[in-house]
Amino acid sequence: MQILFRFVIGGLVVSLFAAFADVVKPKSFAGLFAAAPSVAMATLGLTIMTEGKLFVAAETRSMIFGALSLFLYAAAAIRLMMKYKLDAAPAAISALAVWMICAMGAWYVLLR
């Protein structure tokens, strides 16, 4: 039941941010919403109620490294599109490897 609730609320919040990004201009500004804390807003509210504030604090401490990985992911995606002339979809999917390596590396070295 809780998973279903997360699914519905998560979908709603993510859609809300995505819809907002679709109407704002210019494109670089709309891009800000691709890194909006939509997933976090949807998840953390529920986690505070079910697991408590300290659990959320521990999650968001890790999230700092996740966000840093997201920055490197976006930088890699820009490079793949502009320097290596890859289309958006293959660039965005290939760059996921950068996010994974950075996030898992941070977890293994600093957070574990």
């Binding site: 709309a30 804390p37 890790s62 958006a88």
Partner: protein, 131 residues
Amino acid sequence: MITGVLAGHYGSVFGGLFLAFPAIFPASATLVEKHEREKKRRAGITKTARGREAAALDARGAAIGSIGLIGFAFTVWRLAPIWNGALALFAALVVWMTLSILIWRLRRHRLFVRRGRASTASSTAISSGGH
């Protein structure tokens, strides 16, 4: 949902990383590229890099937003244990928005300056007959 499942299985420290997983960007960049290509196709231009450039601009925005996301996570990390949970989340959302817009504005100003220099250089090249 996946974040919740991962946090449940592997703990809050591992699950927290996925709160900043690039879930929206691949879809939004693909859509931006598609829309831009369609716009050009309707104008009769079939081969263009405009779609890719628009998606790269979207990615630049995402990079700036991710710096704001670091501020969001830091704010919740520090405030959640001592504040009301909803208030801490709201404060963090304000931090994300403020930080992202501030950096975007600073970056835009710098881009404007660079673009100005570039256009001056290219107009100089054109006026001197070079490419």
